[in-house]
Amino acid sequence: MPDIHLPSFRSSQRLRKPLIEYCTNEWRNGAAYDPPFGSRFDEDRFVDRLEIFVDRALAVIRAPKFRRLALLLVVLTLTSTVLWIKVMAPFLKEERAAWSSLNKHAESAGDGLFGANVRPQFSDMVYMQTLDRSLVPGSLNEKGESSTKKRLVFVGDVHGCREELERLLKKVKFDPKTDHLVATGDIVNKGPDTPGVVDLLRGYKASCVRGNHEDRLLLVADAIKSNSLESKKNSGHDSEGTVKADDEERKLAQLLNAEQLAWLKSCPVMLRVGQLKAFTGEVVVVHAGLVPGLALENQDPSSVMNMRVLDLSTHLPSKEHEREGSVPWYKLWNKYQQLIPAQQRLAQLKNRGKSRPGEGQITVIYGHDAKKGLRLQKFSKGLDTGCVSGGKLTALVVDDAGKQKVVQVGCKDSRKRPPVQVDVDNILRKGITGPPLGGDAD
């Protein structure tokens, strides 16, 4: 075994330290050395730290708990953003617009708002009527006797659907002795049996309001009767391009007898029912709607029969279903009714107790808007559920105890369609029409 001479430093005490300690990098301190990158050392450290950080972060992210948490956070952020953009912001905007639109009343005493004009007067049109007290459940007449009527039955747009109306009345167990029937307009037209419906309502001595269809029908009936050189009567032979709806009204006007037309003509544009236990404030029946902040005496009759939306800045009504800058009339109406008590108190304070009989709250019962369907809100009750186009016929039954109930029956679609379209529909539904081929026939 050769004697291996270990290096002498091995045994030395000084050499116990690791070799690396002896590296002094003296050259760095030499004047000749100019570090090419001053911060290289720092940068290295930074990169190291970054790496460490990334590693740790990755570790944390890889941890299942954190992943779940992160996922939850992302989902929450997304939903709240969507909620804000899609629901909250429009809602707030709408609310703010509606309130500011109503505030205009208080600020400028109505200038710039619909209804500043003199109300248009029309001959041959009953504008307002008050329902006889003896027909209002729970009310007392002049002698102090209570009304014999126990229930009021409000029915939405019937449109000549006699069978459905009969079924509905059977379903609510209508008894002419104790119940009074009120139709919210659009009794006529579109459906199969307008004269039948009119006779049915007349038979029950029902109340009604004038709808847009009655309005057109009655004016057409007047035009047919008048002996002036009327533009359309003489051009009867020239039927190309004339409006279909008008032709129907012409036929219907000739179909109805004088008494039926007279009864329809007696329907007012607005019917004041008075106080009912079930509703807040006075109850008024109209066909389409009312403009808030405008006295009943100043409502534009054509708008009352036609409106669906109101313009926010001017309260101008429109019969369109949707419109930019407009909201459904009942939205503004309900908000406005909520404001009334406060306004009255304010007025009372201003007048030092001299209480003026200001406007009270009004609950409106209406039809007209089948697209929106059944809409029951505190101060507005929409009852048109599109019976004639296969929807439902709706009755709102209100009794003297303050209970209200909605009763509906289904309707069959009785819209008249042009025959060609029916054919196309049949073909689409059943495939090719014609004699069925041998084996396939069932």
């Binding site: 004009n117 248009p120 057409v220 050189l229 009327e230 533009s231 409006v243 054509s302 708008s303 309260h315």
Partner: protein, 263 residues
Amino acid sequence: MTLHTAARLCLAVLLLVLPVYRDTALVRGDADFLDVRTGLDRDRSGKGGDPKDKYFHESTFHPHYDGRFAAAQIGQEERLPHLTALMQTFLATMADIGAETWIMHGTLLGWWWNQKILPWDSDLDVQVSETTIAFLANYYNMTEYHFRLPGTENGRTYLMEVNPHYTIRGVDDTLNVIDARWIDTETGLFIDISTVRPNYTARAEGVLGALMCKDKHKYLEEDIFPLRDSFFEGIHVKIPFEYTALLEEEYGKKSLTLTTFEQ
């Protein structure tokens, strides 16, 4: 003999041709000043500067006066009762002869606000159907109506004058967009009567009940008919069915809601 036949032939040709030209060539402008002269020495109808085919002329001093009957404007205070009487006599006459007419444009806006003429308005607009204008042209053209009105000593005479170009349907006849006038022969104020006609081009494209006027206004039958019965300056007047929508379309929302509105 040959001369005779030639003369006869000429006459025959003339007789044949005359009716064809009657409506178009010979009636170029409104009734001649000398034919309808009331008390003026000079025609101020503004005919001189107008193209030959233009029938009705705007006077030299104001577009809403007929220069054949007036030499100058009348004051606004004085004008309003004159316009009111103009409208009342027109509506009464049309009701009497059974011709259907309804109000439109600025006049309808005046009706909307207070069922009266707007005090600053200087013209009145009414519309009739094609049947009615033909009826007026055939039986009532150049007829005069004398009314004994309260506050006037001798009453006033009104003239119904129909523009023979009413038979031309197209909107390119821009010189004759007014089909008739109801003229106050004392002051030269008048009502513009324009005809609402079926718009056959639009109907061919599938717009049911499309209507048009020569002044390029477009309507739908269901917006105008059936007409409503109302009151204007205290007497019966017909109003288009969808009056709110028509006014909104023509003048904007604010015209129906702002008490101070200018366009």
